[in-house]
Symmetry: C2
Subunit: 455 residues, 2 copies
């Protein structure tokens, strides 16, 4: 429990204005966008600097108060829910772009920077930060979850774009990790240890991101297929032909139906692929896209929209990015259980077919970053209706088990949080114990984001 003395001490660190125990503030920081039960923190802090975060961590250590990080709450697995109460650190006051280094394709940012805003800033330099989770996440949140998105198929996940980190460890020690060179073999790779650790090992306050040049040209395709298998086989065929599309998204006909309704569109309500390629030369892209079209036709595509210009393309990706919002809007009163398995591409068709079978009879939507073997399933239902929800959870269990049987993973990009903890033992076997030993080494008191990743 936080005492009045604690509040006084915390106010001395971040300032009177940046400490809140107000009900609406606590409520806002009690949940993310998942169905997981909200838990109120005792206090929310808005530090302004690494030094202040360090002093908070030192205080939390002295008083054994849990600390959970908060970006903007767009997580999907309960990752930032303060399930043991205590302090929530909101990084909203740490939103500075510290330095753009266009000559080296790098940017230094504070953890609270929102990546969409960042990419607007970077576009003036002809650059962008490619991991593209759709939600208006913060950079700190993306690093915490190793977020990825529609561009990952070409450019990789967040972990592939982090060059340096400033991290506050339990107890308040500040360490600086990494360097500005494009490669290094110097000592242990601590960057990747902290990326994706969901705030359980350290509080990330600053990062240097590796950027990519905005492509000179792009071409996008929207392709519909008579049956799901035509679409999923096409995914495998295109990817195994060695192409590197800059996007390769699958949406089942249920998703298209909701998007049509929510956004007043008139797309054919069939299994659909959205694809994009980009590059330096228009001629090169044309040759590539012609080949991809051929693969689509061979796999029975019924419609190919290939004359997609900049505006329509932006609309296409906005629609894809906001799929989750559309689904929620079209199902008021229901909550989403979200699956996020990823499997080897050769199993993509089998995985999607298995999923469709498992969720039949449920209000389920299947889509995902197909080029990465990532499948999202969103089931909309009411957790309070326990018999139905048990069926939802059973499908979840069986779908993850199948993904693991295909040597895949229970979470391609959303992280473990609360929702996937139960699967880690099956997925990681004996190496899970090494993860726990590292957690105990760095955070022996278990103060940083307690109850996450590990059951």
């Amino acid at each position: 429990m936080i005492t009045r003395d604690d509040l006084m001490s915390l106010k001395a660190i971040v300032g009177e204005q940046c400490v809140s125990t107000g009900e609406s503030v606590l409520n806002l920081h009690s949940h993310d966008e998942s169905y997981h039960n909200p838990v109120l923190p005792d206090v929310v802090l808005w530090p302004h600097s690494t030094d202040e975060v360090s002093r908070i961590a030192r205080y939390s250590h002295e008083r054994k108060i849990p600390v959970t990080c908060w970006g903007v709450g767009t997580s999907l697995e309960g990752n930032p829910i303060p399930i043991e109460h205590g302090i929530v650190i909101d990084f909203h006051q740490m939103q500075k772009v510290l330095a753009v280094r266009p000559e080296d394709f790098q940017v230094d940012v504070e953890a609270g920077v929102v990546y969409k805003e960042l990419n607007k800033t970077l576009s003036r330099y002809g650059l962008f930060f490619p991991p593209d989770p759709g939600a208006a996440a913060t950079i700190g949140g993306m690093i915490g979850n190793n977020a990825s998105g529609i561009r990952t198929v070409k450019y990789g996940a967040t972990k592939d774009h982090i060059m340096r980190l400033v991290v506050v460890l339990p107890g308040g020690e500040v360490i600086r990790i990494g360097n500005r060179a494009r490669k290094s073999s110097s000592g242990y790779d601590l960057i990747h240890l902290f990326v994706g650790s969901e705030g359980t090992l350290g509080l990330i306050t600053e990062a240097t991101l590796r950027l990519v040049g905005l492509p000179a040209n792009f071409m996008a395709l929207r392709v519909t297929f008579p049956e799901i298998k035509n679409a999923t086989d096409t995914v495998f065929k295109v990817m195994s032909s060695g192409f590197s599309p800059s996007a390769m998204e699958f949406l089942d006909s249920n998703v298209i139906t909701v998007l049509n309704r929510d956004r007043s569109l008139a797309m054919e309500e069939r299994p659909t692929l959205l694809m994009e390629s980009n590059g330096f030369s228009e001629e090169g892209l044309k040759a590539e896209m012609a080949y991809i079209e051929e693969i689509c036709s061979e796999n029975g595509s019924t419609f190919i929209d290939k004359g997609i210009g900049q505006t329509e393309r932006d609309r296409l990706w906005e629609m894809r990015h906001l799929t989750f919002e559309s689904l929620k809007r079209q199902h008021p009163g229901l909550l989403p259980l979200i699956m996020d398995v990823a499997i080897p591409l050769s199993r993509y068709s089998d995985m999607v077919a298995f999923i469709k079978q498992e969720v039949s009879g449920l209000l389920a939507y299947v889509f995902g970053h197909a080029g990465d073997g990532n499948v999202h399933v969103i089931v909309m239902d009411v957790p309070a209706n326990s018999s139905r929800w048990a069926k939802v959870e059973q499908a979840h269990q069986r779908i993850v088990e199948k993904a693991l049987a295909f040597e895949g993973t229970c979470t391609g990009e959303h992280g473990v949080g609360i929702g996937k903890r139960g699967f880690l033992s099956d997925e990681h076997g004996d190496s899970l114990e090494l993860m726990k030993r590292i957690k105990r080494l760095i955070d022996p008191e278990g103060l940083f984001n307690p109850g996450k990743i590990f059951s």
Copy 2:
């Protein structure tokens, strides 16, 4: 000290034939290709399986005997020298390609597989493993050092291509890490903790590698410049224009002179860039290469050899790969001190200019994977000549300090081994202590490759 009982026990694990204390065998396993002093192991073992490696690790733990891994001894920083004697594990009996999975661009291998042989096998499937260190390294050695090479500028280092590992921990426990999906956010990233840890945390016995499709087309250029700055400025200009060449190598005129002599060539003895681009479409490549040629001309290139066909291209890369061998052959009796700094690309010209100044008066060769900001300097000399060698080491010290001042790294790809230990404190600051804590957590007795990475 290894006793007769130890030898009996070790023979019981790997078989009589696969244990040696013979002088020539111990000598062979006492050094790598660097100038570092050889140290004889007590015994060399050739295990056949993960299980045998596990039993060796358990025995080493019971008897507190150091264990150092050995691929083929092509390291350049003393990484596999058994400086505290004990057991050397040679992976020569673990050379099986366990499974090629062309449909998922993956291959499962044992640690002793030699990557050049592997790429021959994979070429039949139209695939390759891109990190390309030149030397005939084993996959286990490449993983240990996070090796990279001429293709890294486009495809990344070894760390970017490891999907799964089988690792034997101190004490003998076997853990399996990772999965076959193209992405995952499931728990801590243990893969990257072991990649580049130089055998100090675990013995890697098997790996699943992520492969890339062999490109349909390529174009190569050899370009000479009047002065070094013309060449190094061109590197920065090409890379900051957003191109992703598949190779971007710099060689100073001293290197060209040695290559001409060693291989009976007649290249113009001036600062030189070797570049290559590859891709799906010939038209796209032509457009890209024309633009790159234009950048070269703007930067004062004096000669552009652009009609390079497959045979000449293979010769070009073989020549580049074997530069180190040519240097050694042309300087019999001398030993190489090798620098391997990497810095942000905007500092490439400044770094190379600084290096040339620091090594003037020494027998020095400057070259490297320029597109990654990686510079190699090889100084040939006689360590026994202490006053001259002191000058060599002083230049080394000052060059690394400059690279760190440019926010780079003391080693881009060769690892720390013995030779770069002294720089880690300057490079990593407070985060070095966390690396040491992880080492003590996993290997509290300090039995795995003792004396490496940390002083």
